[in-house]
Symmetry: D2
Subunit: 190 residues, 4 copies
């Protein structure tokens, strides 16, 4: 059942760490998206659940909501088979699947291997993972695997309804970010 | 694109006029549901778009949301083929499709013929029609035909986020209801 | 796995016993369809598995194959809730779902109650049931519940490939029909 | 409508020209499959129509039919974006999508570029393309794009029903193969 109470405790969303972007003239940062609800869809191009379920859902969200209020962002979080899921392959995939929303490439400390930085920082369990970030930059939903359109739509509706105090958000953004120990599959808590 | 601004002007939802109910020990009234978001799904048992798309969506909504906060109601609004869509047929349909949410039967002035009273009062165009009513009893979404789960979920999320002032709602309910002339396909305005 | 050997032993298909027909100027008989492969789809209008899966499959078969070689026939075999699934309701259902293939109404000995005659004679377990009859009038596939398009297509392809000896078929049709004791869920054997 | 007459004139299927194979201990040849119906599914790993429609259909065929009678073969015919669709990427794709049927890699004259040899020889228009080859090694169906399960099933049923004269097939295989000028989208004719 949908958690209509949004009881998940708020945790600041760590900034994205990316090595490149597609579908955007310049790199995106969560900091610059304060005031919007951010839908972060993380995926891998050879993950069947991503290609068959997650990506089409991200496209639907991108098509149905006003980008001025809801920012849909893809994040390619490659944690396996790195040699065949590089930037060139992602670019072909994005082109062939006609994806239009901005897609960042999760960064590695050195050469591509293991779990990339953003994925690790968010403690994601795998792909696909959908993360909703509110107007103030807090993580409000963190879901590995399938999530229904009703639930995603509901959550976007609830988050968009929240007031946004620009000054307070700015003050908050001066504090150090980082995700603390209370994360589990369905969300994160401080 | 989803109207994330909920710009539809608010109109009081006329009370349901029903001749019988299924799946509930006693008749429901919108008046008694103040404080909840009401999802009113109107259908006919021989309407393919209802059976294949609308009813399954209503079931998903019923399964995903807390009934204490979101009331899913079916309304059988028979405006054609009345002899074969009577209460007995509806009961068999409801049983065979394992529908669990309350379903009212829209009422006629006399014998079943033409457009029933609630359907006429709401100026519905046909079936299926989905209507969302906010906590104070106002119509906030009125959609004939298909509507995506994302949009329905979003709208429920937005409406649930609204404050509910019981006293104000009560005061309002003392005023005469009735839908005024500003209704069109996608909503109603005063 | 598809039984590519068609090992089901052949059993003469009992003649249809019907009280009325839709979508055909005159009643159909299996006898008159010798030389064609017959796809007999039995259903009830309030059976969800029929409406959601069986009927759409019958429509696809009807649309994809040449009616001169493959005869798609619906059979309304009402074995429960008789009062609300009469001829008038079937006619509305057929109209609203835009079904174009001939549909017979399975007959009762007296008033509509219990299992109708054809359904009993064929020892069907319920609805939907798909029955394939070869050019000579023998039952070759008898399936209660869901069956894949691949399997149905395959079976039609195999049966259409069989030679048809009109004289032999005629001789056979002079013998008394009737289904013997070897029937089970998946087929019938003498 | 399904061409129930299989009127496509028969053309010998050119032998597969491959550089490597997955899911089989040793390379397959059409010559060694005489006596079976061969379902050749050609695809590219970044082709949405292949991944979403063609590959799942090939898997269904592989699961439903007896491999002793129906040989399902994948063929990776990369004609664009060669650098990111090499053997390593195909292997990861095959692993992640849990494909079990043998998959060959279409060969190039030199380095991977342009249209590979088998694809060119068969005059395929693109991916996905489904080709059915009969027991004697003749192409009997050649379809670019989507094809329904009913039609594929039907065609397999028809081809499996054909007699197979081993001696005649052997004699035929001594003649030079090669596809002549009468090929178009839907088939080939001599």
């Amino acid at each position: 059942m949908v958690d209509t109470g949004n009881s998940v405790r708020k945790v600041p969303a760590p900034e994205l760490q990316t090595s490149a972007w597609l579908n955007t003239p310049q790199p995106l940062t969560l900091a610059a998206l304060r005031g919007k609800v951010v839908v972060l869809h993380t995926f891998q191009i050879f993950c069947p659940g991503c290609v068959q379920v997650g990506i089409p859902q991200a496209q639907r969200i991108y098509q149905e909501f006003d980008p001025e209020r809801v920012a849909v962002i893809g994040l390619h979080t490659v944690f396996e088979h790195h040699p065949v899921m590089g930037p060139d392959a992602l670019e072909v995939f994005t082109h062939e699947y006609r994806l239009r929303f901005p897609i960042g490439i999760d960064k590695y400390e050195g050469a591509p291997q293991g779990i990339p930085l953003t994925m690790r920082e968010y403690r994601m369990q795998g792909t696909p993972t959908l993360i909703l970030i509110d107007k103030t930059g807090d993580i409000r939903l963190h879901k590995f695997g399938h999530i229904s359109d009703l639930t995603v739509g509901f959550s976007i509706g609830a988050l968009l309804s929240e007031d946004f105090d620009e000054a307070a958000a700015e003050a908050k953004s001066l504090q150090p970010e980082g995700i603390s120990d209370g994360c589990d599959t369905d969300g994160c808590s401080v």
